[in-house]
Amino acid sequence: MDTLAMEEVRAIARLSRLALTEEEVAQATSDLSGILGHFSAIGGIDTANIQPADDASGLVNVSREDVAHPNALCSSEDLLERSPKIRQKYIEVPGVFDESSIS
């Protein structure tokens, strides 16, 4: 199991929409290499024919009628109030395709 390289950390930061300074990249690379080095021991545990533990609750197909309950918890106005810029019933955001100063 290889541990992390700085270029991988930069790539992951881009994927997870996280700005990291060069210092933070270096620190994260060092911290995580150490941690993952320690964690790699689980690779030696025999898990042939073992299912992943995907079912934390043991419940299956919990469903309900597809009926709306408007304002059950709060109104849509309540939710929109938590946004910096709204226009009518929409959250206004910077353009997806606009020119930006960073890549």
Partner: protein, 456 residues
């Protein structure tokens, strides 16, 4: 110093203690409360990663600094319905990631027993509030030990219910297959009462169980003669503080006085639990934290030209170092090319850990041991190496991985007057057993009669 039963008593204690311990991020002048109910106005504190309409819910993070929730978490609704007076929101590690509240964006919570030391985490604020007499009871959340660890370090009772016993609706998610809200209180019976109030199926949480809520208060009076108590040798591995070991072994011995039968057992996968837990928890967290975009949970001002720039900047500035580390680790563990060897392998070992506990419970009724290898550590002492911080959870994380219930009950103090808690672990949905043993121990020893002196 006494247990506060009224809002005024709570207010007085908050005035006296907050300058020293910083347990609260916010206190409410007019605590939201309802009439009547079994709690009848008792002051309760809520960890700040649980949504309340009152005040703010920040999860200890700058990215949610201005967030005010439009609705209450189910557990909060249930407490209000039972007559609790919610006096404030307590300090957590940011997004519940940590074991000391040192990762909170708003300062550390200090241990009321020694303010140069941590209160534990991530529910450090809640534990410190109860230990100091600021609150009668509190809610925390436990993903890898975050209720039991601070309870142990602060000499109060802390409970992590079975996964699915308590609704997660309104909890700010960290690890969705691991998170549970749990009560913190001064006595086992108070904790049992709080669990009865907050437990139960919730239509808003599809992972909540339809099993009827147990009679936890009644279970506190049950006789434990004949109960088989398993003691895993791996819980006393190297690294355990000798005084912790001494106090825990003495506590287990004393259970024999009440007729319990102590049986040594072995849980060989204990040493695998930290890697398995952190890989799964951080992977789940990286997904759960993807929603924080500076657009929906509070007005964060940015002046970015593009949406991508906005996301990257807001998240870069809004998240602290441990959360960023978590997102990077979690994303890595899930990424193509690595997911099989890290995340899937961890998940398979998790199945093995669950089986290990299931098998152990065929031979014993209860498993017991320390909550954590050492008592409250000095503030700052574990900040240089994140792995050292993770190891504080070595004995609590297996419980979350297996989904079983566990609690911490005070079992004494070290020679430096630092609290130690005894961990009591039960099979799925057998919380009654856990409360019976904890209560029997508490009646014999009454460590909870001790209050920390106000620092000067």
């Amino acid at each position: 110093m006494k247990t506060p039963y009224t809002i005024q008593e709570s207010r007085d204690a908050i005035t006296a203690w907050e300058p020293y311990i910083h347990a609260f991020l916010e206190t409410f002048e007019e605590p939201p409360a309802s009439e009547g109910g079994v709690l009848a106005g008792k002051p309760v504190a809520i960890k700040d990663n649980i949504l309340t309409k009152a005040g703010h819910t920040t999860a200890g993070s700058k990215i949610l600094e201005r967030f005010q929730s439009p609705y209450n978490a189910t557990v909060v609704e249930k407490l209000l319905h039972a007559g609790a007076a919610i006096v404030g929101k307590t300090n957590p590690d940011e997004f519940a990631m940590g074991s000391s509240t040192e990762y909170s964006a708003f300062g550390v919570t200090k241990n009321p027993w020694d303010i140069s030391r941590v209160a534990g985490g991530s529910s450090g604020g809640s534990a410190a509030a109860v230990a100091s007499g600021e609150a009668w009871g509190a809610l925390g959340t436990d993903t890898g030990g975050s209720v039991r660890h601070p309870a142990s370090l602060c000499s109060v009772v802390g409970v992590k219910p079975t996964y699915g016993r308590v609704s997660r609706h309104g909890l700010i998610s960290y690890g969705s297959s691991l998170d549970q809200a749990g009560p913190i209180a001064r006595t086992v019976k108070d904790a049992a009462l709080l669990l009865e109030i907050i437990a139960g199926q919730d239509p808003y949480d599809a992972t909540s169980s339809s099993l009827s809520v147990g009679q936890y208060s009644k279970a506190c009076d049950k006789d434990i003669a004949g109960m088989k108590v398993g003691v895993p040798e791996e819980f006393f591995a190297e690294g355990i503080h000798p005084e912790v070991e001494h106090l825990i072994r003495a506590a287990i011995e004393s259970l024999k006085d009440q007729g319990a039968i102590v049986i040594p057992i072995s849980l060989p996968l204990t040493s695998a639990a930290i890697p398995v837990y952190y890989l799964i928890a951080k992977a789940e967290a990286s997904t759960n934290l993807a929603r924080y975009d500076g657009l929906r949970y509070g007005k964060i001002d940015t002046h970015d030209a593009s949406l991508l720039e906005h996301y990257v900047h807001v998240r870069g500035k809004g998240f602290g170092p441990e959360v960023k580390r978590a997102i990077v680790m979690g994303t890595y563990a899930l990424s193509a090319g690595y997911v099989d060897e890290w995340y899937k392998q961890a998940s398979k070992v998790r199945t093995l850990i669950r089986r290990e506990y299931e098998n152990a419970f065929k031979a014993v009724d209860i498993i017991t041991g320390p909550v954590t290898p050492e008592p409250a550590f000095l503030i700052g002492s574990k900040m240089l190496d994140p792995l050292q911080m993770y190891l504080a959870d070595a004995l609590t994380v297996p419980v979350n991985l297996a989904g079983i219930p566990a609690m911490s009950v005070p079992c004494g103090f070290t020679s430096e007057r630092l609290p130690v808690g005894l961990q009591i672990i039960a099979p799925h949905f057998q919380e009654e057993r856990m409360f019976a043993v904890a209560s029997a121990y508490e009646k014999q020893h009454e460590w909870n009669a001790a209050f920390p002196p106000l620092p000067h």
